[in-house]
């Protein structure tokens, strides 16, 4: 999972490495608009469903990892 996630972040924000503390507050380019794209990308890559209510919560790498584990993708 980590590798795929890293690939998505690299493609989307040009990040070479991924840390759990990274969030919508700290990553350049990860704004509310890009967030929607990120949610779409997660759904496509991992085959998960993210509802609008969940999307609001998934604003840092740690939360995304926990969410994906819960969905059985970890």
């Amino acid at each position: 999972m980590n590798e795929q996630l890293q690939e998505i972040f690299k493609e989307s924000f040009g990040l070479e490495s991924l840390e759990d503390s990274m969030s919508i507050e700290t990553v350049e380019g990860w704004d509310s608009m890009a967030h929607v794209g990120l949610m779409m990308a997660l759904q496509q890559h991992f085959g998960v469903v993210i509802t609008p209510a969940q999307a609001i919560e998934l604003t840092d790498v740690a939360s995304i990892k926990i969410f994906l584990k819960q969905q059985g993708k970890g």
């Binding site: 998505i8 493609e11 989307s12 924000f13 040009g14 380019g29 509310s32 608009m33 890009a34 929607v36 794209g37 990120l38 949610m39 779409m40 990308a41 759904q43 496509q44 609008p52 999307a55």
Partner: protein
């Protein structure tokens, strides 16, 4: 990272997020002046929903076409204010192209009852008033989109009442702006239908971020909008160059013979017939056709002349290179023969090796990626946007024929012994007159597309031309030419700024296909005689060098315009009317050249 790498990465992913990232990087490169693009354009977006994703896709697609975009995106829902306020940021951006993409609810009002004639009137009336306000404040093009008319209950038996209503509104939108040069309608509904409504629209994106479209449809609609941009910037490709074996017919003529190749109404063979039909449609839209084939000339010509099911015949081709030389070599010959640039060519060949060679040797040529299945050839051609025109003039419709006739002229030229004999045998009839309203489109088009025989290469829009026509300080002359092979249409243009005793030739250009026939000399002579009739003392001319117009570097000198001391660098010249002697042109017949003074 280079522009090419940025674009390739976004296209590889296809996702909006990757396009968003790429668009951001491109903006940085463009603003720092680190990337060179062949064109620039300012574009603005007004919408009732989140349109940023579409802007991201367009940014990347445009860069792929060599166009650096400066974009302005109004906050969503602000489209009325932006259009109506003359001091808005929209008008400060001064866009050449503005895209208006709104949902019908945003105009009719949320929850509005759409099933009344009142709704139709309200919406149409609103769009017209927006268009009028826009035209007062901006000279660029406004693209108005039709409303997407997705059926709400696709499997129900009774149709949803809103569907016929919106269909009617869309028809109305297409009608009311049809004749307006500044407002162009993009039939977004048609595009969504083509793509499939249920694939085009995304409820997920809509609910999360007020983006109604799926990523696939964002990509497709961005390519549609690029068509408008291309047409506006004059970046349309002109000529389709075709291979023969396994492209126009199945099999190899040199081995299978006339009876062995597959072409006709039966299977196999109908897929090639279908492809030829598609090519003929393009020909009807003014696309020039040519052949580039590794074959014995006589074998191919026999098929073109005698095969009962060939749709494409000799009169459709402006150039035919059929021999055993490498195809890039033949491509250069075609460019010379037809007299257009390599960057006007689109190449179609079934062989991946030939395609690869063309891409490597001549990257300016657009080599289409073709399916291994000939049934899909037509579809590939139909999904290109490189031939897309914003309108068709009479010259456009006939262009294919005009160029094919040119090939026959060249053959005649080779068969006669002297230039004089050739020019006489052409039986040319020239008409020169002041431009009228009906010439506006063609005149603008000539300024935008003519590169080689163009003394100043000033590009004008239809709005520019139109305002010069109504301004007493300007004169626009158009020249048309007929000969025994057909009507060449309007092929010459001169735009002159007229002051009391001085005329300044702002623009002087000729379509390349008619130069070298003394027509340009006659055109200058005509203008000078007009100047004399108007009591003008001197006529000023100018040559602005570009990469493509070396052909005319000494034109004004040849026409006896004199260089004034100190003007060597600017290449400005002057002709004193007292020196004017009318010239007789023995090979030209003049017809309806009106010498009326402009009132």
């Amino acid at each position: 990272m280079s522009i090419e790498e940025i674009i390739a990465r976004a296209r590889h992913s296809g996702s909006w997020l990757a396009h968003r990232q790429a668009a951001g990087e491109l903006r940085v490169l463009f603003s720092q002046g680190k990337a060179s693009c062949r064109s620039r354009a300012r574009i603005a977006f007004l919408s009732s929903f989140t349109i940023e994703p579409l802007v991201d896709y367009i940014m990347v697609e445009a860069a792929g076409e060599g166009i650096a975009l400066e974009t302005y995106t109004a906050d969503y829902g602000q489209f009325n204010q932006e259009v109506l306020d003359p001091a808005s940021r929209l008008y400060q951006h001064n866009p050449e192209i503005t895209v208006l993409a709104v949902e019908y609810e945003s105009i009719a009002g949320a929850g509005a009852n759409l099933i009344t004639p009142v709704a139709e009137k309200t919406i149409i009336h609103h769009l017209i008033s927006l268009a009028e306000a826009f035209k007062k404040n901006n000279t660029g093009i406004l693209i108005v989109n039709t409303f997407i008319n997705m059926p709400r209950w696709p499997l129900h038996i009774l149709s949803d009442d809103s569907v016929p209503m919106i269909r009617q509104i869309n028809q109305k939108i297409l009608q009311i702006f049809a004749e307006d040069a500044q407002i162009q309608v993009c039939d977004l509904d048609e595009l969504a239908a083509y793509y499939g409504y249920s694939r085009a629209m995304s409820a997920e994106m809509l609910h999360m971020a007020r983006i109604p479209f799926s990523e696939g449809f964002l990509s497709l609609s961005s390519r549609k909008l690029i068509s408008y941009l291309r047409a506006h910037l004059g970046l349309i490709r002109k000529c389709l160059v075709l291979d023969c074996d396994n492209t126009l017919w199945g099999g190899i003529i040199g081995e299978d013979g006339m009876d062995g190749i597959q072409l006709g109404p039966d299977t196999p063979g109908r897929e090639y017939l279908d492809f030829q039909k598609t090519i003929l449609e393009l020909f009807g839209q003014g696309v020039i056709l040519a052949i580039n084939s590794k074959n014995n000339y006589d074998d191919v010509m026999k098929v073109i002349r005698e095969h009962p099911h060939m749709l494409l015949r000799e009169q459709h081709f402006a150039g035919m290179q059929i021999n055993w030389d490498p195809k890039p070599v033949n491509m250069k010959r075609l460019a010379e023969e037809i007299n257009i640039g390599l960057d006007s060519f689109v190449f179609v060949d079934d062989s991946p090796a030939e395609r690869e060679m063309m891409r490597q040797m001549l990257p300016e040529v657009l080599t289409l990626e073709m399916s291994a299945n000939p049934s899909l050839y037509s579809g590939t051609l139909r999904e290109t946007n490189v031939f897309a025109r914003a309108y068709l003039t009479e010259e456009d419709r006939q262009r294919g024929q005009i160029y094919a006739a040119q090939r026959q002229r060249t053959e005649l030229q080779e068969s006669v012994s002297s230039l004089e004999e050739f020019l006489t045998s052409l039986e040319m009839v020239v008409s020169i007159r002041l431009a009228k309203d009906s010439d506006i489109k063609r005149a603008a088009q000539l300024t935008q597309r003519t590169n080689q025989f163009n003394l100043t290469t000033r590009r004008y829009t239809e709005t520019d031309i139109s305002s010069m026509l109504t301004d007493d300080g300007w004169r626009i002359y158009v020249l048309s030419l007929k000969d025994k092979f057909g009507d060449n249409g309007t092929v010459g243009l001169a735009i002159i700024e007229c002051k009391e005793d001085t005329w300044r030739i702002d623009t002087f250009l000729m379509s390349c296909r008619v130069i070298g026939r003394q027509v340009e000399d006659a055109f200058v002579n005509y203008i000078l005689s007009e100047a004399k009739n108007c009591g003008v003392r001197q006529v000023k001319s100018e040559y602005i060098p570009t990469k493509k117009n070396k052909l005319v570097a000494d034109f004004w000198e040849r026409m006896n315009f004199e260089l004034k001391a100190g003007d060597e660098k600017t290449s400005r010249r002057i002709f004193g009317i007292s020196e004017f002697i009318p010239v007789e042109f023995t090979y030209l017949v003049f017809e309806n050249s009106d010498r009326n003074i402009k009132d």
